[in-house]
């Protein structure tokens, strides 16, 4: 088992190398000169420009830029942003906000999705099931920025149930509305997945055996249907945390949240290679760790699975 964990972590190395190289290449190929863009309309002297280019290694070929970045990253130095702040500090401030947002979204979608999916599965073809089908299709079909602005308008501006924007104060109360928006699409998937899984398990032979033993309907559902149905859902939820963090970029834009998505977006616009790549590296690591956790959780839930 520890050998398995070690193997999986070793596998992360080429993944991180490949991802950073790819991002570096893309930032390098971006049209326009980032230093010129930095000065906007003002004229730039050749010497200042050369100095800045040297400071950010922009005068090197991109493969050297990448290697220099990697060398720095290994010692914990992610370089400076164009505004002169260390990238590590920027990420250190933005990452917890996004993590908090994503975790809140995850809890919301898991709790609501599993409960609704479970009842829809038990009452297959009844009115609750049909309603949930329509709701989930709607949520999946409508783009997140439409949903986001709609909920912001209705609950944040008109009803004033929750703050409409987040700004500098990323507190629990202020993050609730964005978390609901972020979790909505995944809620629909969790609901569908739970429902399908419950329906499948209801027809399983071992559930019939449980009934034949004389267990009451509630006991059968709780002990044999629900637990077995949760395995695919847990797998989905684990993988979804990474997706939520990456997908937060739109939600963070709508609600003005100082998270990692916003940071990456601004950095891409400015052509700040080191910042973009640092954010991506963090995200890749989150994905790798989460998928490892999911696999370990899977083994804990299902005794048939053993890793060697």
């Amino acid at each position: 088992m520890w050998w398995y964990v070690g193997k999986r972590l070793l596998q992360a190395i080429p993944v991180v190398l490949g991802a950073t190289l790819l991002i570096y290449a893309m930032v390098f190929l971006q049209p326009g000169d980032p230093i010129l863009a930095l000065f906007g309309e003002k004229p730039v002297s050749e010497s200042v420009k050369a100095e800045l280019e040297a400071q950010y290694n922009l005068d090197q070929p991109f493969i050297i830029q990448w290697l220099l970045f990697l060398g720095g990253a290994l010692t914990g130095d992610f370089g400076l942003s164009f505004s002169g702040q260390p990238v590590a500090d920027l990420i250190g401030r933005a990452f917890p906000v996004t993590l908090k947002l994503a975790l809140m979204a995850l809890v919301i979608e898991a709790v609501l999705g599993i409960i609704a999916g479970f009842y829809a599965g038990l009452r297959r073809g009844k009115i609750f099931d049909s309603t949930m089908l329509v709701v989930s299709l709607l949520v999946i079909a409508v783009p997140i920025f439409v949903l986001g602005f709609m909920l912001q308008l209705v609950f944040g501006v008109q009803l004033q149930w929750a703050p409409a924007t987040v700004g500098g104060d990323a507190s629990f109360q202020r993050l609730i509305l964005p978390a609901v928006v972020l979790g909505l699409v995944s809620f629909a998937y969790v609901l569908r997945l739970t429902r399908t899984s419950v329906v499948e398990n209801l027809g399983a032979d071992h559930v019939r055996t449980a009934r034949a033993k004389g267990l009451s309907e509630t006991e059968v559902n709780r002990k044999h249907v629900l637990r077995n149905s949760l395995i695919p859902v847990v797998t989905f939820l684990g993988a979804d945390l990474g997706t939520l963090m990456a997908g937060a970029i739109v939600t963070e834009g709508i609600f003005n949240i100082p998270g990692i998505g916003n940071l990456a977006y601004q950095a891409v616009l400015r052509g700040e290679g080191p910042t973009v790549v640092s954010v991506v590296t963090i995200m890749v690591l989150v994905y790798v760790v989460m998928s490892l956790l999911v696999d370990l959780l899977y083994a804990a839930l299902d005794p048939r699975i053993r890793y060697a």
Binding site: D205, H206, T209, A210, A212, L215, D302
Partner: protein, 567 residues
């Protein structure tokens, strides 16, 4: 006379499809007295399982009782409220289900699943229940029960799971136990052990048993009273021996004449000898022709396939990283398949018989040893053309006719595929060939346009045989080719295989776990155990004078083998 424990009168069960009710059981009736064993016999789709499930209201999907009555212990239980129903299940009527692989919750420890039954029926709780679970598992014949109770179902073998299910069914000491094909998924020897045990247990406890089975031999051996069902109706019922010796209904007569366990006693070896004579002659002619054409090098000998010291070792991942454990699946197996005859390989699951088949088919490379086809070592056939020529002469038919046909291919396309692969004939010629093949396996040519899902199991297996014969092979490898079929269909397919062998001079390598069917088709028998050949002889020798203890055990395990028939 005592009052019956269970009385079913004119039971009607239907499944709803759209707005229509499709009847599955039409007026079934039977009676079980306390402590009695009654068997319902019939082929799949006869309504025997549906009748049994209707008793405890566990009908699948849209099934529901539309008429008639079920009286249990003097009380009408046909239409009960949910609570009353749950009170009867487990404590009054227990169930031992069919497939031990799917009937235990894979995520819950076996002991806990049995404990649930005790707690739900108020027999025992907590520590006392834990203790009782171990006693119950011991009673069901599970060795080392205390530690076994803490294991998960996947750590059990099929036989052990079935024992756990028996312990579960009897946990709350019901008055009636419904055993729905309790052993049809198990090897014959395990089957016998389990049934013996179930019999002693239910006799000791005085539990009545309603046994559901498709095997008439098994039913007659285990039950006092038989109920024969056909198309949702009871066509005959009475004392077991009476039905066996003097069946009244034509369907019962057919069942008795085709049950392999019973039929094998009567099928004269002369019939088989005739098949062999004709087949060997044809095969010799074909071989001579091929030699004359000089298609494949090698010389024509008496043996078309000869396996020499075949060994297969699988490496299983295990223990420390990078290490592996050697598992010898096949250990030094040698045999000769004589041209135009049938060699049967018999053994329990895990004996390595299918691995042998895969090596003979050149689908798996042997670790050592060789397979010679007409004197040529097939592992040396490494260029594409030679390999293709080899495949053309050796064709397989597999066990599961549901899985071995592509569901998206029409029957025509399935049979045509090998012809197309080997670039044989024009479109017209191929169509004529397919019509001819379907005719050979006694299927109407109208099935060509149909898809596998529209055919029955027996029809699909005929299609699989037609596909195997499409390339005019000399050797057909039949890997459990009749094991998944109902007895009647099984008998038909065996007859078909015999006819085809006589007509086309085929050589069969017939792999099976069921010794009962061997006598009807084989000339030579190889008995395998744990990868080794333990006995190798002609079919009559194996049946009449088995030399090995293991072979005798396999023979004893054939259900109904000891019943004398007046014919």
């Amino acid at each position: 006379m005592t009052q019956p424990l269970l009385q079913i009168t004119d039971l009607q069960v239907a499944f709803r499809a759209g707005k229509q009710d499709i009847p599955a059981v039409r007026g079934a009736g039977l009676t079980v007295y306390p402590g009695q064993t009654v068997a319902i016999v019939g082929e799949s789709g006869s309504g025997k399982s549906t009748t049994a499930h209707a008793i405890i209201d566990l009908l699948p999907g849209t099934g529901h009782v539309t008429g008639g009555s079920i009286v249990f212990d003097g009380r009408d239980i046909t239409h009960l409220k949910r609570r009353e129903r749950e009170a009867i299940r487990g404590s009054q009527i227990g169930l031992v289900p069919q497939d031990p692989m799917s009937n235990l919750n894979p995520l819950v420890r076996v002991g806990k699943q049995i404990k649930e039954s005790l707690e739900a029926n108020g027999v025992a709780r907590g520590k006392a229940a834990d203790k009782r679970v171990v006693e119950l598992l011991e009673e069901a014949g599970l060795p080392d029960a205390a530690s076994r109770a803490r294991q998960f179902p996947h750590e059990y073998s099929g036989g052990m799971r079935q024992r756990a299910l028996i312990a579960m069914g009897l946990a709350a000491r019901p008055k009636l136990l419904i055993a729905d094909e309790p052993t049809s998924a198990l090897d014959v020897t395990v089957q016998k052990q389990i049934l013996d045990h179930l019999e002693t247990l239910t006799t000791d406890l005085g539990v009545a048993v309603l046994l559901i089975t498709h095997d008439l031999g098994l039913a007659a051996e285990r039950a006092d009273h038989l109920v024969v069902m056909y198309k949702g109706q009871v066509v005959e019922s009475g004392p077991a021996l009476q039905i066996l010796k003097n069946p009244q209904h034509p369907y019962s007569q057919r069942l008795i004449s085709s049950a392999p366990s019973l039929a094998s006693q009567r099928l004269t070896s002369q019939l088989r000898a005739e098949v062999r004579e004709s087949s060997v002659k044809t095969a010799g002619e074909i071989a001579a022709e091929i030699v004359a054409e000089g298609e494949l090098g090698g010389e024509v000998t008496d043996a078309v396939v000869e396996a020499k010291n075949l060994t297969k070792v699988f490496k299983l991942p295990g223990g420390a990283p990078g290490r592996s454990i050697d598992f010898t699946a096949v250990d030094d197996v040698s045999f000769r398949l004589r041209r135009g005859t049938t060699t049967a390989i018999v053994g329990e699951s895990g004996s390595g018989k299918s691995t042998v088949a895969r090596m003979v088919l050149d689908l798996l490379e042997p670790t050592s040893g060789s397979v010679e086809f007409d004197g040529i070592d097939i592992t040396t056939l490494r260029d594409k053309k030679q390999q293709l020529a080899f495949r053309r002469r050796v064709q397989p038919v597999f066990q599961n006719p549901y899985a071995s046909l592509d569901p998206m291919y029409s029957i025509y396309r399935s049979i045509e595929e090998p012809l197309r692969t080997h670039k044989i004939g024009s479109d017209k010629e191929r169509e004529a060939k397919i019509r001819d093949l379907l005719d050979k396996v006694s299927l109407p040519s109208a099935v060509m346009r149909r898809f596998p899902s529209e055919l029955s199991g027996g029809q699909r297996q005929r299609v699989a045989i037609a596909r195997a014969l499409a390339l005019d092979p000399e050797v057909v490898i039949l890997d459990e080719a009749v094991s998944a079929l109902d007895v009647l269909v099984q008998a038909q397919i065996l007859t078909l295989l015999n006819d085809l062998q006589a007509e086309l001079g085929l050589s069969y390598l017939f792999i099976t776990h069921d010794l009962a069917v061997v006598r009807q088709i084989a000339d030579d028998v190889l008995v395998m155990q744990n990868g080794k050949v333990v006995e190798q002889a002609t079919v009559t020798e194996v049946f009449d004078r088995p030399r090995e203890e293991y072979t005798r055990k396999l023979l004893d395990a054939i259900p109904g083998g000891s019943i004398e028939l007046a014919s």
